[in-house]
């Protein structure tokens, strides 16, 4: 079975003065998270869409889903964890409690604030996760990536042609991901910035899926302006 895991853990700290988590800001009069959930609703492969939010936003998330999408038993809203990976583990626990978690259970994890994800990207994630066990959506880096360990001087400039920018979805065989995550030490967990790294640290292959430049993450006010201009341009003409 294939599950969509929508990560809506952000609290909007980077979104200027707004006190509302960024997934609830609107594009075209609809909350960003609704646009994102709908994209997964429009994919027939998912058994369930699991939306994970901070505990204090669960009721609000349920209400807006009900308002914009209606009563839909394909969507469930549950509490996330303290970190991104803990949140993903919560989704896997939910699957285990309510379905059968086996070697073929796939999770397609996606940022709730990437509403421009496409049907193709989702399909290729599912296919790659089934075939290879794990995948990450990326686009080739267009800017040169500069590494600085002390934040003052350059320590390395990796060759750009080998560099990619990570997007989401990231998709996994859920049971394997959890087993490996559980085997990590606390020190190892502390340096994880995303879920694909869980597998990379343990020498597992993570397949690349081609993303799209416009599959942007709406993190800063500037991103919101770009997202709105992409979809609302016609209205303003």
């Amino acid at each position: 079975m294939v599950f969509s895991v929508i990560l809506a853990g952000g609290t909007g700290n980077r979104m200027g003065n707004t006190d509302k988590p960024k997934q609830f800001l609107t594009i075209k009069d609809k909350p960003i998270i609704i646009h994102t959930i709908e994209k997964f609703m429009a994919h027939p492969d998912f058994e369930k869409i699991i939306v994970l939010t901070p505990m204090m936003w669960i009721d609000h998330t349920k209400r807006i889903i009900n308002r914009y999408i209606g009563d839909c038993d394909k969507i469930v809203v549950i509490a996330g964890g303290d970190t991104r990976n803990e949140t993903i583990m919560n989704s896997i626990n939910y699957i285990e409690e309510n379905y059968t978690l086996d070697d073929d259970t796939i999770i397609v994890t996606h940022d709730s604030v990437r509403p421009f994800v496409t049907h193709r990207i989702i399909t290729e994630n599912i296919d790659a996760a089934k075939k290879y066990g794990a995948c990450d959506t990326v686009i080739p880096a267009t800017d040169t990536i500069v590494e600085s360990i002390d934040a003052n001087v350059i320590s390395a400039i990796p060759e750009r042609k080998n560099m990619y920018q990570g997007q989401t979805p990231q998709s996994f065989k859920a049971k394997e991901l959890r087993d490996i995550y559980n085997s990590l030490t606390n020190a190892e967990r502390d340096i994880l910035t995303d879920a694909a790294k869980i597998l990379v640290m343990k020498g597992k292959d993570v397949q690349l899926v081609q993303g799209e430049t416009y599959n942007i993450k709406i993190t800063y006010p500037y991103d919101l302006k770009i997202a709105r201009s992409l979809i609302e341009e016609e209205e303003n003409d």
């Binding site: 594009i27 075209k28 609809k30 646009h35 709908e38 994209k39 609703m41 429009a42 994919h43 027939p44 999408i69 209606g70 509403p115 421009f116 496409t118 049907h119 193709r120 416009y214 992409l230 979809i231 016609e234």
Partner: protein
């Protein structure tokens, strides 16, 4: 939901646009196989009148296509059902005028966006379920096939009942499809095809006889005729039809021409001929076409003969490649496997 639309913004230039799709009572279909029509080419190459281009572009092209249902609130279709999309969109009822001729109806890739989209929001009434295991490259051009089926159905109600011999002018895709279906639907009628390319005419193995338009026996006569030539060839084809058709015959005009075509009205009057035009089809025609696919699998096998280029479309460059290959083809339909 944010949907990605690939619109032609100017001749030979595609651009990306985004639009919100709501989860209304409409279905959402993922296009999978799209077929390029000459009408799309006229926009792509910019051969339509400049005023028309200015008025219609930017617009997503393609009105021939099939896809997979991904969402249907109405429950008419199941997820993953393979469907053909009907590009004609009626907006008002009319008990006399058919949906495909109403001035109020919209048409994809003409008065509204076509199917070059990530997902297509479409009414369940504009979808017809395809049989399992159908060749989807053939099903992709069901729209043009349904236009032939529509023309033949109208012919049946308009033309007098003597149908010993019928002539079909043209040796392109439309003539191939029309003659194939006519022969299946009227097996006792002699079907003659008239064209200008001997190699292409040789592909019409299912008809009774084929002729080069320069070598038509002077004594040959047909009871009725279909004109499937269009463009610059229309005047000559119509002139020949009027010469070779018997009195009180019916002529179906199916070829599209950008320019007004002079017609020998004196002979139309003298012979008491009837002419009717057809370029679009409605739901009934799609249903009938799909039913014929299922009951006559040999039709689908013959239709595979006109699949020309099949292009995997993963990028803008691939879209351009498909349209450019299509411009260079002598015969056959160009199919895009839509992976965007």
């Amino acid at each position: 939901m944010i949907n990605t639309i690939y619109r032609l913004s100017a001749p030979r230039r595609f651009e990306i646009d985004f639009e919100d799709i709501s989860f209304s009572d409409n279905c959402i279909v993922r296009p999978t196989h799209l077929s390029i029509c000459n009408a799309d080419q006229r926009y792509y190459q910019g051969t339509r009148d400049a005023k028309v281009l200015k008025q219609k572009l930017p617009m997503a092209l393609i009105h021939e296509g099939v896809g997979e249902v991904v969402y249907d609130k109405s429950g008419t279709f199941k997820p993953k059902d393979k469907v053909v999309m009907i590009p004609n969109i009626p907006t008002a009822d009319d008990e006399i005028i058919a949906e495909n001729y109403r001035e109020s109806s919209k048409f994809c890739a003409s008065s509204t966006d076509g199917f070059m989209q990530e997902l297509v929001e479409i009414s369940p009434s504009r979808l017809v379920k395809l049989p399992d295991n159908i060749n989807l490259n053939v099903a992709a051009f069901t729209e043009i096939v349904s236009v032939s089926v529509h023309a033949i159905s109208r012919f049946d109600t308009i033309a007098h009942k003597r149908r010993e011999a019928v002539g079909i002018w043209g040796d392109g895709n439309l003539a191939f499809i029309t003659s194939l279906f006519f022969k299946k639907m009227y097996p006792d009628t002699k079907v003659y095809v008239f064209g200008i390319n001997r190699d292409k005419l040789n592909d019409f193995s299912f008809v009774d006889e084929t002729y080069l338009t320069t070598e038509i026996p002077s004594t040959l006569r047909v009871d009725h005729a279909f004109e499937c030539v269009g463009a610059g060839g229309s005047p000559v084809a119509i002139e020949q039809i009027i010469s070779y058709i018997r009195p009180e015959g019916t002529i179906a005009i199916m070829g599209v021409s950008e320019y007004p075509v002079p017609v020998n009205t004196r002979m139309i009057l003298e012979k008491g001929l009837r002419m009717f035009g057809t370029s679009r089809s409605g739901r009934e025609d799609f249903e009938k076409t799909v039913e014929l696919y299922a009951t006559h699998p040999e039709i689908v096998r013959f239709l595979t003969h006109i699949i020309g280029n099949v292009v995997e479309v993963n990028s803008f460059a691939d879209m351009t490649k498909a349209f450019e290959l299509d411009t260079r083809k002598a015969f056959g339909k160009t199919i895009m496997h839509w992976n965007l």
